[in-house]
């Protein structure tokens, strides 16, 4: 889930005021700073449809209301299918996660191996979310290249993860839009690919309304399509409480 937030934040918070002529002389860190500035909105509300397709083509579709603040606070409330309506997941920082099940009318903190695994059966993991976050913060840039992707001039940054593995990030040169992230395994093969598309602008912030992630090892994919979103609505920190979880994040 954090990954979703991060992905949305990353795509949504891009500043596009950078002058193209200056960009050519930017270092990797400077490019990431531009992206960082661009990716962080104060808060965000988005209703999205998440479509998970497993290796056998079996599909699950869920509609979720995401409420986020900063780069770590999230409340996700399931709206569809009806059996899951009202189930709410909340995280305030790494390893701090709760779930509310309406049928049990109880909130439970969840921990253990869950922390590093996928959200709701999707291909997004919390760890990946952290990695994506750090694309715009403390990730070590190994290499900066100028290239094209789908005929668009881009920077291709090779980033070193904290676990030593590499990832590649394509950033569109004009508006600093992240287009593709590829996660590499220890042997340098692509294990996951995240693509951003259908960008929309609001309050000077770009939001990718379509995010696709492919797990090339599991041969599964998850697609998030944002149907509507609001930015900088003034959500307070005390919104992220157990009581609000029970109210469905409204």
């Amino acid at each position: 889930m954090r990954k979703i937030i991060a992905t949305i934040l990353l795509g949504a918070g891009i500043l596009f005021a950078t002058h193209p002529a200056q960009a050519d002389n930017l270092s990797g860190e400077e490019i990431l700073n531009r992206v960082k500035k661009a990716t962080v909105a104060k808060d965000r509300k988005a209703t999205a449809t998440m479509t998970i397709t497993d290796r056998n083509g079996r599909v699950q579709t869920r509609t979720v209301l995401f409420v986020t603040k900063g780069d770590s606070k999230l409340m996700a409330t399931f709206q569809e299918p009806p059996d899951l309506r009202g189930v709410t997941f909340m995280t305030t920082k790494v390893d701090n996660m709760w779930i509310y099940l309406p049928t049990q009318a109880r909130v439970r903190r969840i921990s253990g191996s869950m922390v590093n695994q996928g959200f709701g059966g999707s291909d997004f993991s919390y760890k990946e979310m952290n990695n994506i976050s750090s694309v715009a913060s403390d990730k070590a840039v190994e290499k900066v290249e100028e290239t094209t992707l789908n005929n668009k001039p881009t920077y291709r940054l090779t980033l070193k993860e904290t676990d030593g593995t590499l990832s590649r990030l394509w950033i569109e040169k004009i508006a600093f839009l992240p287009l593709v992230i590829e996660k590499l395994d220890a042997k340098g093969a692509v294990k996951k690919r995240i693509q951003f598309g259908d960008f929309a602008q609001d309050d000077s912030i770009w939001t990718p309304r379509l995010i696709q992630i492919q797990d090339l090892n599991k041969n599964s994919k998850t697609e998030i399509r944002i149907m509507e979103f609001q930015l900088n609505t003034g959500i307070k920190d005390n919104f992220f409480t157990e009581a609000n979880m029970k109210r469905g994040g409204r």
Binding site: D83, I110, F119
Partner: protein, 752 residues
């Protein structure tokens, strides 16, 4: 035709020799491509229900093929064991082709601690001090979910189930696991089992068998040929049949077909059976040389005069072997095809290469024809002549004991049972057998039934049915543990409610189920995806079975099918798979195949003989010795409780195919003598026996001893097969030389 062939071969001998050697060299190249295959499931057809279900388990649930790793120690919870064990398991987990490992140090569980839901390993971190280790020991051994499932009740052994990726090369993965184990300090404490490991051992032993049994069969045949012919010529049939073996194995390699455990017996069988054709040609050649013919004339006449019975013998053998092609078991079908082709090759080489070489054989060698061997051969012929006279006088006394024996044998035939328990393939004290027994005794077995439930898995009613089904499954003898999404949901409900035992129940509402499933989907996806698909349309139930016996699996399967009908009728579609089911399907197939192949072989051989001799009566008479042989063979199997298995399932048709040769040779010569001695009817039988009796005896000895080398196999089933087939050769040759002769003498008498 045969006359023409004999003449052509003799005249163009060097061409024939050259071409035969060239083909042999070309096909020999492809022998290096041969690969062995020990996977039992591959012996079933792809459309077999058990195979189809396992394919669903592989595609939808990540696979069901598991290597069982058994660790034995004084105390598994001792730091000297637990630490290196954890290191070993982690090393195996990182290997290519290993999907996951279920065991003490790896298995996840849902726990409720206060207001927290924790999905974590059973042993999240190994305690460092003895006191905490002991606490862990008692915690694990007091939990019924782990005791006798992951750890033996006394804590002296642990079981890890290593799941392999469906697309992996399982043999290679097992080899790599073995390497990792051998590099571990626990190498003396660890044994591998489970179908991939057993199949790897089977494959290793098959390769060892192939290297041992063929040379042994060659040695035995060489010895028999040496004492029979006492001349360099005697080795010619051996050379010819080795060429046939090279052709056959080369063809199998060229076509990319695997050598299965059934096919392991093919080279020794070909050596034993195929040599007969060359022996008959050689024997006739020597007779012709004795009669003063030149080498070229003798070779030509050997083909024209012996060619027909040799062809007939080969044709009947081919038909007998090819009857296995109607079997439902892929490996038996392949054996039927390639053994028939092998016999055909042996025939072609015997009718071309052998006379070609003989036609160019130097005169010096032929001096052996006038050696004392000739006198010995004559003495044997005289003995058979006397036997012929006796049979003519006492035909009833010859037939009656055979009939009595068959009647007695008939009483035991219904006791013959089939068995596909592949652990029985190994010797009783071998490492694989021991590991299987320990796992069955301490952990409820390593075989696993797989059930695929197709329906709305979030429906509480269906889940309730699954729960009841599992409950009743456990009442079936030998089913020890079951597991499914029902168990996961019960544990989750308990965990969500503070781990209170009274909440270890299946949720009653659909929403509850859906929400728990969503909660679980936040965890390691394998935890859930091993037992239910992402769209909740398919669920998987596993049931461990602690016996490998086909009969017990068959009984369990019957009860399982009743339970499926009882619980899921009109509710969900259920299919059954897993290794026990594959064994059961093989078991059923063996029973059916055995009957079908026997009938097919008998009818085909009868038809062939009746057509060639243009007499239905002679066709029936020719079958008599082999029918008696079969009756005796199955009677012995029933009496000694020898089970029919994958290899012995081919025994009947092989016995028909080979055993009928003796009848054919005898019949052909009998008809020849009848034609030549119209006025001296009483001389027909003695002359027939004088002419072919020694050859039949030599051949039966060669074939019987050739098969007897199979007792040196690493596999029990091949050892048994070797003894049984040697015994059928003995019976069918004796039957031809006694009962068949008596019946033919009757025919002469009645025609007077």
């Amino acid at each position: 035709m045969l006359k023409w062939l004999g003449a052509k071969v003799s005249c163009n001998a060097w061409w024939v020799i050259g071409i035969t050697i060239a083909i042999t060299l070309v096909l020999a190249v492809f022998i290096s491509r041969l690969r062995t295959e020990a996977d039992l499931t591959k012996m079933l057809a792809d459309n077999d229900p058990a195979v189809k279900t396992m394919a669903v388990v592989d595609s939808e649930f990540g696979g069901s093929t598991q290597v069982a790793l058994l660790v034995e120690a004084c105390d598994i919870f001792s730091p000297n064991v637990l630490y290196p064990l954890d290191t070993l398991i982690q090393a195996i987990k990182g290997l290519a082709g290993v999907l996951d490992i279920q065991g003490l140090t790896t298995l996840q569980d849902v726990k409720g601690i206060g207001d927290e839901i924790v999905i974590t390993k059973i042993i999240d971190s190994i305690p460092k001090d003895q006191k905490r280790l002991q606490a862990l020991r008692s915690e694990v051994l007091n939990d019924k979910r782990y005791r006798g499932v992951l750890v033996a009740e006394d804590g002296s052994s642990a079981l890890f189930l290593i799941r392999l990726a469906p697309a992996s090369n399982k043999e290679m993965v097992v080899k790599t696991i073995e390497k990792v184990v051998n590099n571990s300090s626990l190498r003396k404490n660890v044994s591998l089992s489970g179908s991939p490991a057993l199949m790897k051992y089977m494959r290793d032993w098959m390769q060892a068998d192939l290297k041992l049994l063929l040379p042994l069969a060659i040695l035995v045949l060489a010895f028999i040929l040496l004492i029979s012919f006492r001349s360099g010529q005697g080795f010619l049939p051996l050379v010819a049949v080795l060429m046939a073996v090279i052709w056959t194995l080369g063809l199998i390699g060229l076509l990319g077909k695997p050598l299965t455990i059934v096919m392991v017996v093919l080279p020794p069988i070909l050596v034993s059976v195929g040599s007969a054709y060359g022996i008959h040609i050689l024997a006739r050649f020597r007779q012709e040389r004795n009669n003063g013919k030149t080498s070229i004339e003798a070779a030509s006449r050997a083909v024209s005069n012996t060619g027909l019975p040799v062809f007939l013998a080969a044709a009947t053998t081919m038909v007998g072997f090819a009857a296995n092609m109607v079997s439902g078991i892929v490996s038996i079908r392949q054996f039927g095809l390639f053994s028939a082709i092998g016999v055909f090759f042996a025939l072609v080489i015997a009718l071309t290469f052998v006379p070609a070489v003989l036609s160019r054989w130097k005169i010096r060698e032929d001096k052996s024809l006038n050696s004392p061997k000739k006198n010995e051969s004559n003495r044997l012929g005289e003995l058979f002549e006397r036997w012929g006279v006796i049979v003519l006088r006492h035909r009833l006394k010859v037939i009656a004991p055979a009939l009595v024996l068959v009647l007695i044998a008939g009483l035991f035939i219904p006791r013959v049972r089939s068995e596909t328990d592949f652990v029985r393939y190994f010797k009783p004290n071998s490492q694989p057998t021991r590991a299987v027994q320990i796992i069955a005794e301490r952990f409820g077995g390593e075989l696993q039934f797989e059930f695929i439930i197709e329906g709305d898995i979030q429906d509480p009613e269906l889940l309730r049915k699954m729960e009841n089904f599992e409950k009743e499954l456990k009442e079936i003898p030998h089913i020890t543990h079951t597991f499914s999404i029902v168990d996961i949901l019960r544990r989750t409900n308990k965990a969500f409610n503070g781990d209170r035992l009274e909440f270890e129940l299946l949720p009653v509402k659909r929403e509850e189920i859906a929400q728990y499933l969503l909660l679980l989907s936040f965890s390691d996806s394998d935890f859930l995806s091993d037992y239910v698909t992402a769209d909740y349309r398919l669920a998987r139930i596993t049931a461990r079975f602690d016996s490998e016996e086909s009969q017990e699996i068959a009984m369990a399967t019957k009860r399982i099918n009743k339970l499926i009908a009882k619980h899921f009728a009109n509710m969900a579609k259920v299919s059954v798979g897993g290794m026990p089911m594959a064994i059961e399907r093989l078991h059923q197939n063996i029973q059916v195949s055995q009957i079908i192949t026997l009938i097919t072989a008998l009818v085909a051989v009868f038809g062939l003989i009746a057509c060639l001799f243009k007499s239905v009566g002679l066709g029936l008479v020719a079958l008599t010795p082999i029918v008696l042989t079969l009756a005796l063979n199955y009677g012995i199997m029933g009496l000694l409780k020898i089970r029919q298995d994958l290899v012995t399932a081919t025994l009947g048709s092989i016995a028909i195919g080979i055993g009928i040769d003796y009848s054919c040779h005898l019949l052909a010569r009998f008809l020849e003598e009848t034609k030549n001695n119209r006025s001296l009817k009483l001389e027909i039988i003695p002359k027939t026996l004088t002419a072919v009796g020694p050859a039949i005896l030599t051949n039966a000895l060669a074939v019987g001893l050739g098969f007897a080398v199979l007792i040196f196999s690493s596999f029990m089933i091949i050892q048994t097969f070797g003894i049984l087939i040697a015994e059928t050769m003995l019976f069918s040759s004796i039957g031809a030389l006694t009962v068949l002769v008596a019946l033919l003498s009757w025919r002469i008498k009645n025609r007077r």
